[in-house]
Each structure stands twice: as structure tokens, then as C-alpha cells.
Symmetry: C2
Subunit: 431 residues, 2 copies
Amino acid sequence: MEPLRVGIAGLGTVGGGVLALLGEHGERLASIAGRRIEVVAVSARRRRKKRAAPIGQFEWHTDPLALARHPGVDVVLELIGGAEGVARKLCETALKNGKAVVTANKALLALHGTELARAAERAGKPLRFEAAVAGGIPIVKALREGLVGNRIEGVYGILNGTCNYILTEMRASRRDFAAVLAEAQAKGFAEADPSFDVDGIDAAHKLTILASLAFGCPVNFSAVHVEGIRQVSAIDIAHADEFNCRIKLLAIARMTERGLEQRVHPCLVPVNTAIAHVDGVINAVVAEGDYAGSTVFEGRGAGAGPTASAVAADLVDIAAGRHVYPFGVPTAKLKALRAAPMREHVSRYYIRLMVYDRPGVIAEVSAVLRDQRISIESLVQRGRAEAADRAVAVVLISHEVDEAAMRRAMERIGRLKSVVEPPCVIRIEQL
Amino acid sequence: MEPLRVGIAGLGTVGGGVLALLGEHGERLASIAGRRIEVVAVSARRRRKKRAAPIGQFEWHTDPLALARHPGVDVVLELIGGAEGVARKLCETALKNGKAVVTANKALLALHGTELARAAERAGKPLRFEAAVAGGIPIVKALREGLVGNRIEGVYGILNGTCNYILTEMRASRRDFAAVLAEAQAKGFAEADPSFDVDGIDAAHKLTILASLAFGCPVNFSAVHVEGIRQVSAIDIAHADEFNCRIKLLAIARMTERGLEQRVHPCLVPVNTAIAHVDGVINAVVAEGDYAGSTVFEGRGAGAGPTASAVAADLVDIAAGRHVYPFGVPTAKLKALRAAPMREHVSRYYIRLMVYDRPGVIAEVSAVLRDQRISIESLVQRGRAEAADRAVAVVLISHEVDEAAMRRAMERIGRLKSVVEPPCVIRIEQL
């Protein structure tokens, strides 16, 4: 049978990993797929960059769009990144020209996944994106095929390795966010501009894709409530330990009576859950199905190897002619779901206040909480301030309360004279 | 498109789960697969048994083989069980007659999987068995498709929920094996004849299948080294805790320089691993790939719901016409691998001796170990015997040593007059 001819756009870490994998495992994959997977053309920003694998043997194109129009290319592998611009244009053009598309681009899919899926259906060509979520963990296939027999009730997890690495290191070394972030940047675990990661946007992109697969709805990134981890301090991590919890940035999509919840924010998770023990750059996803129950997937979420592994799975499926709709069901059957308003979300909360150690502070705080009908499970103030002008931490755990009341209370507490900085509020997830 | 017509042989818990799932999610699955999945005929031991779902609407056959010969059946779903007899005959006949086969039968596949796969290839029909390993966890698909880009270096896990439940309960309630087994039987978590589970055979069947998928070799059940959990006592579990370990029945397949290791036995696993925290009836599988790294899968390994979820995934793949070789590669490409001799296996060991509390016992034991060149990392004897004729436990942790030397040493130590019962020896897995 004719080989499957691949054009790769983007030859960074991931592109290099894909070339290495196909070089090393090409023979075996050919016997599995029934045909060879052959890279025929490549495109990247710079031709003469130092690369792990030589690219001289491949046809070179300065313009990635040339791959989308190339008569000798069956599949465009898009590894450029970014929700708009070249990456989007490339995928659209490739599909329009009857080529399959494999992409690792979570931003693109989170924002334009449904349109791209529709374009793929019109073209009768595959659109695959295993590499877009949780790297080496085959979670896209698991949700789309392996757990297809289930109505998914919830899907959640740790989808950003950078944040999980930072939170893990903060706990291990009792250092604060800024110090650990700087170290992570030096080690290459965090980008020079870390905001996509630490502000939760990357996790939200991935959650959007998982939610669409899990609930059979169009991607709806704008419905995701997103908070990052900048506000989490070493004090919070130490307190979480005392409550037998860990602090994790979770991405959670859950079907509720109020609609589909999609949210990304730091959480206190009980240590007796699998997710509490997922440390460092590891990713984890939990899928809750009505028949299978809870299934947990853990693995490396980024990097050349894991991402190449995901890309290879997609390429083999395409080479073997295994058809599947990009989001599991035909786009015409994707059902828009009401977004559950975050203000109605009910949770227990961890609240840390930095207050001046003066008589009456607790009374003031308590009065605000009482007025919002927020009842408190525990309150801890440890030690005394070293001086009258130094703040101490007061930590409260609330009973269940809705988000709107909590926001009102925090806004008022933040205005109290004895309260030094905006309250740090972290939701406690039961899972 | 014509519906996919299914004949179900065996209407126990799992069969009932499949009927319930197809009833509940049939519409959605039809839109995903592009055609309906329709149960047309059933067979079971007794027609008029009380069942969760009524079966009156299906054509009834007393002889399951009738399904394999039925012109109106496209897929035979084999839920009878057992490595030989009717189940085997049914699958063989169905494939011979050009029908697809879906089965949850791990014993059958562990012993005759390669022949069945060959028969399926000859017939050009699918043979699928997601339900045979780890229930609701889509691990067969993950190894066969999701991680296809990797050379798998090792695959291991907790594959028997009954054993894991017993070990978890022994730890939680500090009771011994027999008491917990009896309770598990009363609760329905263990069979009246528990030997398939507690002697490790069931886990070994599943491991055989995983190894074939992971390493591209014919199934080779007879090469699996199998030990069960009957020898593990409450004392051992308490001691493991002190060494920051848990005792788990692990099934491990690993490529070594000496060949393919396949072994099922109790292990001490460090508490800082994911697998140490997998408790109760939950199953877990870890796959180590050269590109993806370690990927962990956890979920419910048995029961109507999880097994039905797995069966549904297979049926949808078949209905959608997605072709895959039963063990990933064509049977002609499965490569027989040398089995690594267990006697050469190197491990650290936990050794518990029950000895009379007399002067000189430790000297005798130490002399035997020295003669076999087994060096000891630690030795713990706690408390004194209540009377001269009562034994006390002595626990040793060895450095790395090969199995042959350990067996010789244990055989000699078991013959010492001061040693009351055969030594309990448990391997310490680094993972």
C-alpha cells in the first residue's frame, strides 16, 4: 500500500521528537498500520537551526501553507501553535484541500475546534489532536473511544505541568511562588512569559477540549472560569498540609443541575485521593462514567517524547484508515450546553487573611461572614505578630456556601482597616 | 446503514450490564458509530432466571453455538468464561463462520489468544477483548493504539481486585488473610472457590494478555511465574508500613537482558509510588514507554458496569468499522521472546521468620545467609516470646540477591530446628 505522506509545520522540540520516533519505530509502525508513515516535507521558521535530527532529506518550505497545498502531502502535522494566524490558516487550508490534519495546538482547538471539526467532516478527512491534551496520556482516545459507552458525569485533572511543578516545589522547599517560578524558568520548566501557564489559561484550553469530548458539546472556551496560582503562598501550602490536603491547580468540567461547569482554579484536595499524589510535571485526568466509574490517567503531560507518542498514535490511526469524528460525534450532533453560572457554584472554602494583630479583628471578620450567612468550620491564628505593624495570618475554613456570597464577603473583608492585603481564597474540592 | 447484530452468550452480571448499557445509551452510540448496535439473540444456562433486564424480546438459544452459526448475527459476544469447552468452541466457530467476536474471557485469551487472533485474521473479522483486562480501564486500547508509538519497556499493575481488596482490608483492620477472605466472600467480593484470584492465576491470565500487547509476542501463559497472597500475614503488612511500603499483589512484565520477565507475586512497594495508593477493588496498570514515559491507569477492574463499558467500546469500534489486529500487529509478526528464567531474577527481599526465642537462633540464620552470600540491610526482632514454646517474628531485609540463592537459603533456614514455619519471603519492588 502507498505510504502515508506527512508534512510537518514547526520543527521545535515536538517536531524533533516526532522525527526521532518515526525514525526509530517506523518499521514497526508500518507493519501495524499496513503502510509506511513517511515525512515528505517540512517547514519551520529557520532552516539552518541546530536540530537533534537532520532535516536535509526532507523537502523544505519556508511557507507552511505550502504544505497545505502540496499535492504530495496526505497529512499536515501542525506544530506551530497559537489560536490564530498561521496555525489556524494552515489547518483550515489543509482540510479544505482534502488533507488530514494532526495538531498539538490546544489554543486553536479550544477556540476554533468545532469549526475545524466541521471542516474536517466536509472534507471527509481526519482531524486528530491527541497531543493537544496531557501529552503522553492517551486521554483523547480514552474519552472518545475507550469510555464511549458511558455518559460522562465529570472530567477533571491536573492539566498544566508547570503549575503542578511549581506547587510541588513550593511545598517541598517551603518557598514562595516567585522564587520557585524563577527557578522553574531557569530549568526550562516554565516559559520566559509564564502567564499562559500560571494564570490557568493553558489548563483552560485543555479543559475545553476534554469537556467537548466528554459531554458531546461544542468547544466553549469563553465559558471557562479561570484562576491561576499566583495568589497561592507558602503559608497556604503549609496550612493545607495541616488539613490533610494538598493544593493543586485543577481543571474541572462537571454536569450539574445548573448546567455544565467548566472551571480552572487552585483547590485544596484531600490527601486520600489519587490526584493529591500527582507531583512535579506529571499530568492527571479523572473521568467519571456512569458505567465505568472513576478512571484515573496519569503521565507526562509535555515534552518531546510524550507529545511525539501522542502524534504517532494519531498518525497510525490515520494510516490504518480508522475513522472517528474529531470530537467523537458528528458536529451536527454536538449539543450546546447551558453554562452553569460560577456565582451559583457551591463550595467549602479555605480563606487566608493577613491581619494586624489587634483586638477586635476577628470580631470584625466574623461579623461580615455572619452577614453573608457564611458559617465557619474552623479558624486558626497561629503565633503573634513580631511587631504591631506586622501582619499575622488568620486561616478560616468555611462550610458550604455559594460563590456570590463568598465574593461579597471577601470584598467587604478586603476593605477592613485591619486586613492588610486582599484575602486569599481557595476552594476545597471533595472529588 | 444496517445495524450491527449482536448475539450474546452468557447472561450473568456482565451480560446484564451490557443489555442495560445498550438500552440506555443505544441512541448516542448509534450516532457515533453510524449504525445501531442491536442485540438479536441470546443464550444462557437458564432461560427463566431472575434478571435485571428482561430478555423476552431477544431470540433465545439453549445452545450458545447456535449464535456462532446464526445467519442473522454479525458479532458473538462471549461472556461464558473458561479457557476450554464451550467458550473456546464458541469463539472458534464464530470466527470460522465469518463473525466478529468480542469476549471478556481472559483465561481463554491467555491460553489460546494467538490462535484465536490468527483465526480472526483468516476470517478478516475483528476479535476484541477490552473487557478481559482491568474492566473499565481502556488499557487494551491504550497499549494497542494510544501508546503504539512506544517501545514498551515494562507493563505492570494491580490486576486482581479481590486480592487488592483483601490486602487493603488486612491493613485497615489488622486482621489475617483467612478472616478477611471470609468476609470478602460474604460480601461477594470473592468467589466461593477463591483460588483463581488469591493464588494469582487470574492476574497471570491478564498479565499474559498485556504482555502480548505490550511486547508484540504470542501469549505465553506457561512462562508466567505465579505466587498468590495466602502466605501474607497481618504481621507482614504491619512491618511493610514501618519500611514505608505497602504490600500489593503485582503482575509485572518487563523486558530484561535475560529475556521477557512475566511474574505475579506479592510485593513491597514504596509509599511514594502511585500504585501503593491503589486500594480496595481498584485495578491499576503502569505502562513504561520509551517516548511517553510512565503512564498510569487506574479504575474499577470488575463488575457489571465497568465490564459493560469495555464491551461497548469494542462493539462501537466494530460497528464503526475501525480495524485493528487483535494484539496490535499481525500474528505473523508476533515474535516469540525468550522467557527470563525466574531463578536469575535479582531483587531485594523482605523475609519473615517465626522462631523460638532462644540464644543462637540469629547466629544460625545469619550463617545460612552468609553461606549463600546474601547480605542483610536490616534485621528486626521486636518483643520477646510470651513463653519458651511460643514463636516470635524476626524480619530481615536483604540487599539485592538472585532468586536461586534466596531459594537455597530459605530451604535451609526452613529446616533449622528453631524456625517454626516456612519463611515468608516477599520481593521488594523498586518500580
